[in-house]
Amino acid sequence: MIFLQYAIDALSVGGLYALAALGIGLIFGIMRLVNFAHGDLLMMGCYAMFMLAAAIWPVTILGGVVIAILVAVITECIAFRPLRSADPTILLAASFAVSFFLQNFVLMIMGGRALGVDIVPALNQHIVWDSLSISVLNLFTIALSVILMGGLSLFLARTRIGIHMRAASEDVRMARMLGVRVNLVVATAFAISGLLAGAAAIVVLGKTGLVLPTMGLRLTLVAFVAVIVGGMGSLTGAVIGGYAVGILEVVLGGLLPLVILPYREALIFTVVLLFLLFRPGGIIRVAALKERV
């Protein structure tokens, strides 16, 4: 029974990480941009939901997701589009700048105090079944992540723009020559990453009940780890990486003796280090990323 309890925890945490990793992986696949501001899209979505908390919950949630998408598209237009052909390190630096800007913007307007909010009261319930106690939010998280991942893979496989997106991630120059409108593809990719961040925001806010300007930071780091473990540039890899990190976190939290417990994060990052040393391509290696000689 306790195994099942941990399994549900792990799937729920893993689902959240997979959503975040997908958002980062999607942008990286197309632009070779590691978007460190991804967590801040989530933070903006959370603050939007906080401000709309008085409304009925579908409005609150929708408002948060829409804001996350809007911020994603606006940052693409203002910060990343002019740098499209720049070196990946410059793009990386630009994403840090966007992240600092968004955090300080919120800090200036809302202050640095953690504020409490309860967006969907129904998510606070838990179902007791035998010795198991399953929180509704965990089931919601698992369902939401599966639906979004399924939706995204259908979108990439079946729609025109989805196919263009895959083409662009294989080889942007070639895709452009074949008539793919790169601006539209990149803007759509950012909108989707905003949607994923907005969805993750519902889960994070449901779990924590707090908004704080720095709240996106940890999820960005974890998602980045997941992307490295899974394989840079591969969306399947990002999902596998997300679940792997989530499962690892829950298993270590349940099994580690107390003295090592504070270093759990360090252990997770050690896994990344090992991957970078022995399998730098991650679990799923992407052919398009190999240097051609």
Partner: protein
């Protein structure tokens, strides 16, 4: 050459200006109180209340005729929540003539400003740094804190839980990221075992930001022996932890310290019950001490909103303490004020009876108000003082 000349003229002018301003201070201008604190950034919420408390104290003191017949005025400078900027902020208020300096409510964030201010020979108070290092040993003989020392806070909570609640088995949940939490939890465990209590479970995590606590909640729930949970966390992580623990169906009482004060986070856990904490005073107008309710009413009138937390009272009381010491010394000389402060024995200040000695510039035997939260409402239980505090280390 011309550049050198203008530099010299500028320098001379600056000297004259400095001389002029110090002369100007000698007459009936107000005595300047400097606050070198975080006005912006992530620490700002912790300094906001103490500053407003200080401003209220200054208004109260001025209404009664000031200190030694001189009115007080407050100047501020922003550390921007950066420990390194503390030095500049202190210089800024000292240049404006500050006779006493208040610094951030934390040792790490307040030390730089305090070192600068004490080096300039001014009495320096931290509003609520709970680390006993904030004093003679860590900063210097002119540094004081209005906080109740962390070991004393831990002992107060342990004794109250053991003697008043009759709890015997504790599950200790700690965030190891912050020194205050580590000190709180370790001192609690020392006092708890001394009292004869049992530690039946422990968990540690290491984060400073919002995160999910599935693992911690499940681990805590599996422990069926515990009478209550002792939590070393603050309002940036604690509410999330409590939310997930309660959502998992775990309703054991939770005991926490003043770092969980305030009701601005209660929305995170709707209808929270069986939550207990110690605070400097109730900010909800229901404190058993009418002085504290008066304070909340006056603060609300002055600042347009009630204090977020009772930490604001430490800002009020440090001003009370300095004014009292200056009156007794009959002078604004820092050393004379220090000598009077060091003679404090259970002085009746807003935060409670306050004592200092030449060696110890933090309080260890002052009561804390124990509060309970039931159905999302704070209610005072009792003001409780520890009988025995674990030995402090610097």
């Amino acid at each position: 050459m011309k550049f050198l000349m203008s530099l010299m003229i500028g320098f001379t002018l600056a000297l004259c200006a400095a001389g002029f301003s110090s002369k100007a201070q000698a007459n009936d201008d107000p005595i300047v109180i400097g606050a070198a604190i975080a006005l912006s950034g992530f620490v700002a919420p912790y300094d906001d209340g103490p500053l407003k408390g200080l401003q209220l104290a200054v208004a109260d003191i001025n209404a009664k005729g000031g200190v030694l017949g001189r009115k007080l005025s407050v100047v501020t400078a922003d550390t921007k929540s950066d420990p390194a900027q503390g030095t500049n902020a202190a210089i800024e208020v000292l240049e404006q003539g500050a006779e006493m300096v208040m610094v951030t409510c934390d040792f790490d964030f307040g030390a730089a400003a305090a070192l600068q201010a004490t080096a300039a020979g001014k009495v320096t108070f931290s509003s609520c740094a709970g680390d006993p290092k904030f004093g003679v040993q860590g900063i210097g003989p002119l540094a004081y804190t209005m906080s109740l020392g962390t070991p004393a806070q831990a002992a107060t909570l342990a004794e109250w839980a053991y003697k008043e609640k009759g709890w015997r088995k504790v599950y200790v949940q700690m965030n190891s990221m912050v020194e205050y939490f580590k000190s709180l939890c370790s001192n609690f465990k020392i006092r708890w075992e001394e009292l004869g209590g049992e530690i039946v479970g422990e968990d540690v995590y290491n984060f400073t930001e919002v995160k999910s606590f599935e693992g911690q909640a499940t681990r805590m729930k599996q422990n069926t022996e515990k009478d209550f949970v002792f939590m070393c966390a603050a309002t940036f992580d604690g509410p999330s932890l409590i939310k997930q623990v309660r959502n998992a169906g775990e309703n054991t009482p939770i005991l926490a310290s003043e770092s969980m004060d305030g009701n601005f986070w209660l929305e995170a856990v709707p209808n929270l019950s069986e939550f207990y904490l110690s605070v400097y005073g109730s900010m909800f107008g229901n404190d058993p001490n009418p002085q504290i309710n008066d304070y909340v009413a006056k603060y609300t009138e002055m600042h347009g909103q009630a204090p977020f937390t009772a930490h604001s009272m430490t800002g009020y009381s440090l001003m009370e303490a300095w004014a009292l010491a200056a009156e007794r010394a009959g002078s604004f000389d820092s050393d004379a004020i220090r000598q009077e402060l060091d003679k404090f024995i259970n002085e009746d200040l807003l935060v409670g009876p306050t004592s200092y000695t030449p060696e110890l510039h933090i309080n260890l035997y002052r009561g804390m108000q124990i509060m309970e939260v039931q159905n999302g409402k704070h209610a005072p239980i009792t003001r409780y003082t520890a009988e025995k505090v674990p030995p402090i280390t610097f």
